[in-house]
Subunit: 136 residues, 3 copies
């Protein structure tokens, strides 16, 4: 069995940002030499998400508006700790913090419109995503 | 390590439909010969979901009503591209597009009421799910 | 390839409860001897969730309030079967029922604030979570 582990670092300019990481993940899969396996892309923070969806700017705006509606900024109990990112924790739960992408014949086995996104919900500081490839 | 990759095709009659795929996935696991491992069931489209829940028609209606409430049909920015399925993208994010099912002693290791469902949010055309088995 | 499968049993005193399981999962990973791999932590019931988030009591209250708002107790069609836990099914869909945690150099490869939680949405009876380690 082969494996490869890499950490992607992000420091977004905006507090909330989507970053497409498909190409980076694809490169790491090539580098691993794995032909058949899985690659896990998983946020290492609890105020960020990773999801698969469409590479379409209109949709991104829709997603942000939707997230602001379902997990709004407000005065959360969590803020008693001095934090102000309660909404970011809920957004992370909502979109989930990880995806597992199948690898077939040495490449990401994604549908034609599937792109992997890192979703930053509380940025402007250094944060990490683990990419772990496992297979043969 | 053994692996098996199969693609399930769906073309639902309704725009929105739930399709139980547990038996198909179980058959593929048997076919793979994997005794201990994981099987990934993952939609290859960004307007569909895969989840594990109960095989109970009343609950399915509850789920549809709930999804219509949390990710309603409306005029999304995404529709400027000519699409009309913005809600389907959000529903996919909400229920997630994949599950990973453990395989123990050659069979799906699910709880007694756990069933795997393909959730079509924008159907009436051919769409795919990847089933990938990995293990020993 | 090595694997280890264990079932964690829960019988919470409250109907709804969060139980931190990080240490138990970490112990099982050690026991498996896996150095590079994945551990799946997955509820075997359709009225429970498993997620990764912060070990902070204020936030937990926020999460419960948020879940009560997005997937409220009410009269669901599912209740025609005699059940009264429709909300628990929806809460399970919302936070997802599983996480996959990477294992690197023999240990859980989590970020500094990431903790694994079992989320009971319909407790006061015996329920299970599968922990399955796979790797080398």
């Amino acid at each position: 069995m082969k494996s490869l582990t890499e950490y992607l670092w992000f420091e977004t300019k905006q507090r909330r940002e989507l970053v497409r990481v498909t190409d980076t993940v694809a490169k790491l899969v090539k580098q691993s030499g794995v032909q058949e396996g899985f690659v896990l892309v998983s946020a290492m923070h609890i105020t960020a998400g990773v999801f698969v969806n469409d590479d379409e700017p209109g949709l991104w705006e829709d997603i942000w508006e939707w997230l602001a509606h379902l997990a709004p900024e407000k005065d959360y109990r969590h803020h008693r700790t001095g934090e102000d990112n309660g909404d970011a924790h809920l957004k992370s739960l909502l979109v989930h913090h990880q995806v597992l992408v199948p690898i077939t014949r040495g490449a990401l086995d994604l549908g034609p419109w599937q792109q992997i996104f890192y979703a930053e919900f509380d940025g402007q500081r250094r944060k990490r995503v683990i990419v772990k490839v496992l297979g043969d």
